[in-house]
Subunit: 116 residues, 2 copies
DNA sequence: CTGTATCCTTGGCGATACTG
DNA sequence: CAGTATCGCCAAGGATACAG
């Protein structure tokens, strides 16, 4: 989209850069964790909330909405008696998992380094 | 068959969340790009600035300082006649490159997808 | 259960000018 | 050349209460 160049507005890093492109998707505060917990199976809203402690419902909803809009996951309302909603990764979302995996790998190394 | 998913815990949960640990390092606005441009060779301050257009020196310095403090890169003052400073990745920094690579790979896929 | 609605705070980011 | 100093903004994130 057209670059909005207001006063202090962000014009974030090199636009054409695939790095930036991708970081925009998983840059959100809880985004990588959401993808991580959805990687093997669909999860319901409260399940995800429980998986990722410390996030408020407002922020969580915002993240999920953005991820849905970006085509990373799909939201499906289940016709159960207590209404439930199931989130699952799309194919596009699944393409992000190698990157997440790589990040997790490095995370493990970091932990070892900082503790050892 | 119907997957029993109800109270089911998610994956082998990444304890202490290496994901978050790592994202904190490369979550900054220009951070992944800096690592990217340092991956193959050391670069000087203004070279990096030129590599990554649009960043102000203040922010750039802040990023570099934080990366140095986190042990991702090293800052070395060169005793040249016009003073110059060289930044290069540490071993720890080099361990981040697979993750960056993976992210870039996904970025390429995203570009293809969004452009048809 | 699955979210919205409000309100508030923070710190990350930006621009510009200046310095050793 | 390689940064600091100042100033300012605003959107992301958080807390809490409420709603369908």
């Amino acid at each position: 989209m057209a670059v909005k160049r207001r006063k202090n507005k962000a014009l974030p890093p090199p636009q054409g850069c695939p790095l930036t492109q991708c970081m925009r998707l998983l840059g959100g505060a809880w985004t990588p964790n959401i993808i991580w917990y959805l990687r093997s199976q669909p999860r319901r809203f409260s399940e995800l909330m429980a998986d990722i402690p410390g996030v408020s419902p407002k922020v969580f909803t915002a993240r999920l909405k953005r991820l849905e809009k970006d085509g990373i996951l799909v939201r499906q309302v289940m016709p159960t008696s207590p209404p439930s909603v199931e989130y699952s990764l799309t194919n596009l979302g699944r393409e992000l998992t190698p990157a997440i995996d790589a990040i997790v790998q490095v995370g493990h190394k970091l932990k070892r380094r900082y503790r050892g």
